[in-house]
């Protein structure tokens, strides 16, 4: 199943990278605030006036926790982050979007998943059905730099029928 998705992804990437799937019309999706680390935003607090370094390298002076494991062979930070306005994300069209709209970035390469997401099938909607429901951003569940969903510890199994917590 995995293999199938990936070959599909690659096909998708080579064929239609620059076409926005799901139409170009911008729909609105209410989302909770993006899960940025405390104190990191606005990025421009540091980056304003700082020289831009577009070379692929190991970062030593900041963001040392970020290790890019996301199609890193073919891209680097400034494919997603705008070099001049660090408070925005950058689409391949050059258009800048807010961190609250990072799904627009993801949809460039993950069209079918994005479509499912808008329907509430991939990812998750919470709150009230009518009007007030919100969408979790892709980045609430996937670290954009290392998006693989990590294994987690399960909650405990139920007590067996004869367990001392269960018997009369």
């Amino acid at each position: 199943m995995r293999a199938a998705t990936y070959s599909f992804l690659i096909l998708f990437l080579s064929g239609t990278l620059f076409q926005l799937p799901g139409g170009t019309a911008k729909e609105e999706f209410p989302v909770p605030p993006p899960p940025l680390s405390e104190g990191i935003f606005p990025c421009s607090a540091c980056h304003e006036g700082m020289p831009v370094n577009p070379t692929k390298r190991e970062l030593k002076d900041a963001h040392t926790d970020i290790k890019l494991h996301h199609a890193e062979g073919v891209r680097w930070c400034l494919d997603c982050h705008d070099p001049t306005n660090r408070d925005k994300l950058k689409l391949t069209s050059g258009e800048l979007v807010d961190f609250g709209e990072s799904y627009l970035l993801c949809r460039q390469c993950h069209g079918p998943i994005y479509r499912d997401w808008t329907a509430g099938i991939h990812g998750k909607r919470t709150g009230y059905f009518d009007g007030k429901r919100t969408y979790l951003l892709c980045v609430h569940c996937h670290n954009p730099h290392d998006p693989k969903f990590n294994p987690i510890k399960p909650e405990p199994p139920p007590y067996r029928p004869r367990d001392r917590h269960n018997v009369r």
Binding site: G120, P151, K153, P154, P158, H165, R168
Partner: protein, 289 residues
């Protein structure tokens, strides 16, 4: 000595009568579907007072009816479930289930060996690895399937369980006689039995209740998943949907063309458990991959 025992007796009689009074009123209570609004209000008030006494919390017991043009349906994405059981415990807390003696879960997460989904011999729900998901398994949560054609309802000798107009299969705990025919009749093991009063830590009582749902059960009654009737009838997702970290669980109105449940039925490969039994579950499993 005299004085003391007289006082003791008086006290005892006092308690006795008030107790009898409550029992009588409960005993004489009508079937939920036959109560007038006024009678419902009286019952609700009595329950709220009881919960305040027993748990020290002001509860709100809704008797809210089904909304028109609504038929609730559930979707579960087997490609995404990682078997973490967050839903199981979110359900317990939301629905005021007994925590121990007995521990009553409305959701059972079954672990199945990949590639051999038909063979239920390898299925188990006590798995406990360090982390999930595990390489060779898939996970299938099972709960009440809210059948259109529910066998549990058919076998109830006193009509204590029935299907609501919005499709929810519910139980009037005050009407249930504890015969457990419904438990035997359910092909999905969707029902559990309260052989004693529920053990719920006072501070964990969820005060937002529905009469046909998560109000604390009484001794010797059957209960089960209600799709969180107390939440969905006021427009909120069930607790298990909200708790799921992977977005495996989907919920919505089958009659609403824009609901996620309709989207997945129309766009994904869906199946229902034991379709050959003609129970017509409103619980759709699907594969998004």
């Amino acid at each position: 000595m005299k004085m003391l025992s007289a006082g003791f007796l008086a006290g005892f009689v006092g308690v006795g009568t008030s107790c009898n009074h409550v029992i009588d009123e409960e005993f004489l209570q009508k079937h939920f579907l036959e109560m007038t609004d006024e009678e419902k209000q009286r019952v609700v008030r009595r329950l709220e007072e009881k919960y305040l006494r027993e748990y020290g919390k002001t509860a709100h017991v809704s008797t809210g009816a089904a909304k028109p043009k609504t038929l609730w349906g559930y979707g579960l994405d087997l490609s995404r479930c990682i078997g973490c059981r967050r839903c199981v415990y979110a359900c317990v807390r939301e629905n005021n289930n007994s925590r121990y003696k007995p521990q009553l879960h409305w959701i059972r997460v079954i672990r199945l060996k990949k590639g051999n989904l038909i063979n239920l011999e390898n299925a188990e729900h006590y798995y406990n690895p360090e982390t999930v998901p595990e390489e060779d398994f898939i996970y299938m949560p099972v709960q009440c399937q809210h059948c259109e054609n529910p066998p549990c309802v058919k076998v109830c000798p006193v009509h204590a369980t029935w299907k609501e107009p919005d499709g929810l299969v519910v139980v009037d705990y005050n009407w249930c006689i504890g015969c457990r025919y419904c438990i035997a009749a359910c092909p999905y093991k969707g029902r559990v039995f309260n052989w004693t009063r529920p053990n719920i830590p006072k501070e964990e009582l969820n005060p937002a209740m529905h009469y046909l749902g998560n109000r604390p059960r009484i001794k010797n009654v059957v209960d089960k998943c209600t799709f969180c009737i107390q939440r969905v009838r006021s427009g909120r997702y069930p607790a298990c949907v909200e708790a799921c970290p992977t977005g495996t669980r989907k919920f919505g109105n089958l009659l609403d063309k824009n609901s996620e449940i309709r989207y997945l039925i129309e766009n994904k490969r869906v199946f229902r458990l034991k379709e050959d039994l003609n129970t017509e579950p409103k619980f759709y499993y699907f594969f998004s991959l």
